[in-house]
């Protein structure tokens, strides 16, 4: 229900399922609680608020950066983080305090999947089947111009182009780790795959970029032993590490758990 406009120009609406503070009224237009909450509910709300303030709010910039990678649209990224904040807020009292960023990133991922499922269900197919899909990455520099003929810039442009040309399955791993600064385990949580799979995709993605740079003449050819490694990686084709070979992601949630908010205390 939209009830007015906030001070920052954003329209306001009631948070679905929002539980009012245990003390006092929540403000105009908000129905009063039916009665004073008991101690248990008060403790739960206090734990939720503490977890939210302590673990969630400081991570807004990280969430926005990763959301930008997932959605590739700034507006969608902001909406996604907003929905993630609501889910994290509701689930705060069930969070056990371990690995807060991983917990948040799992909520972000599940929220993103829910949004995509509603909008474009076909995109939820196995990403390997879309390996040749090409995506444009915001911020990709324009093609080399005469003014850019400085070695460093030429190199950076070649890297950007190579990243842009990567199949999305590899590009996502590269962006999450190298551009967004996530650890292997955090990236695994965002992608919903084992850590070993993230390593494989990341290393193969970088190896492809490295090969592109050699073809573009801005990086040396690899020596025989290193070229062999690249060839072996490429020979794997679309094969991913078996789940038994890969270290499971510390942040991965069991399939089917609603939005991943349930990890932590029962």
């Amino acid at each position: 229900m939209i009830v007015g406009r906030g001070g920052n120009g954003l329209r306001l609406r009631r948070v679905p399922g929002h539980v009012d503070q245990p003390t006092g009224s929540a403000g105009p237009g908000v129905p009063d609680a039916p009665g004073p909450p008991d101690d248990e509910q008060g403790d739960r709300l206090a734990a939720r608020n503490e977890a939210f303030a302590r673990y969630v709010l400081p991570e807004v910039d990280v969430l926005l950066r990763v959301a930008r990678t997932l959605t590739q649209q700034p507006v969608d990224a902001e909406d996604l983080v907003q929905d993630t904040l609501v889910r994290a807020f509701r689930a705060g009292d069930r969070f056990d305090g371990a690995h807060p960023r991983a917990w948040l990133l799992t909520i972000l991922r599940n929220t993103h999947l829910n949004r995509v499922r509603v909008r474009r269900p076909a995109l939820l197919d196995d990403p390997q089947t879309h390996e040749e899909d090409r995506v444009s990455w915001p911020g990709t520099p324009p093609p080399t111009s005469p003014e850019d003929l400085v070695l460093g810039e030429v190199f950076d442009h070649a890297v950007a182009q190579a990243l842009n040309d990567l199949p999305e399955v590899f590009a996502a791993a590269v962006r999450l780790v190298d551009l967004d600064g996530l650890s292997y385990a955090e990236a695994a949580g965002v992608l919903g795959v084992p850590v070993g799979t993230v390593m494989s995709r990341l290393h193969r993605g970088r190896a492809r970029i490295r090969a592109s740079l050699t073809r573009a003449g801005v990086a040396p050819s690899p020596s025989r032993v290193h070229a062999r490694t690249v060839r072996e990686v490429e020979a794997e084709g679309g094969r991913e590490p078996e789940s038994g070979d890969a270290e499971p992601a510390a942040v991965a949630e069991p399939a089917g758990r609603a939005a991943g908010e349930g990890r932590g205390r029962p």
Binding site: I2, V3, G4, G6, N8, L10, R11, L12, R13, R14, V15, H18, Q21, A26, G27, G29, N49, F52, A53, L57, V60, L64, R65, R68, P74, V75, A77, E78, D79, V81, Q82, L85, V86, F89, W137, P138, F155, D156, V159, A160, L163, V174, D178, L179, D180, M199, L202, H203, R206, I209, R210, L213, A219, P220, P222, S223, V225, H226, R228, T229
Partner: protein, 110 residues
């Protein structure tokens, strides 16, 4: 004038290619170079690779190449929109203080 014995050169090459107890081989470096760059190798392996990189020209060149690629990728990252971070932080504070949920205008309003 002293001359390096032929076996010494052979030994050095063999050590570089096959590795030895405290130093990685070229093949080991090739297999683990990216994880090494990301700091995802165990301390012992990290030392073995670092020692190999001190003197192996081919592996050193590969190490520098991947270091440059990783640095260039990091430079591709654009800073997050500070205004968006502020709006979202305000939104989170509104949730925390039990206020109504602020929502951005629908897409057709923007």
């Amino acid at each position: 004038m002293t001359r390096t014995p032929r076996t010494s050169l052979f030994t050095r090459i063999a050590m570089r290619l096959m590795g030895r107890g405290d130093e990685a081989s070229c093949a080991e470096v090739a297999d683990h170079l990216q994880a090494y760059l990301d700091g995802h190798t165990d301390p012992e392996q990290m030392q073995r690779i670092a020692k190999h990189l001190e003197h192996c020209r081919h592996c050193g060149l590969e190490h520098r190449t991947y270091t440059e690629i990783k640095s260039a990728l990091t430079r591709q990252s654009e800073p997050v929109d500070a205004d968006a971070v502020r709006r979202l932080t305000d939104f989170g504070q509104a949730l925390l203080h039990g206020e109504d949920r602020p929502v951005p205008p629908p897409a057709d309003d923007r």
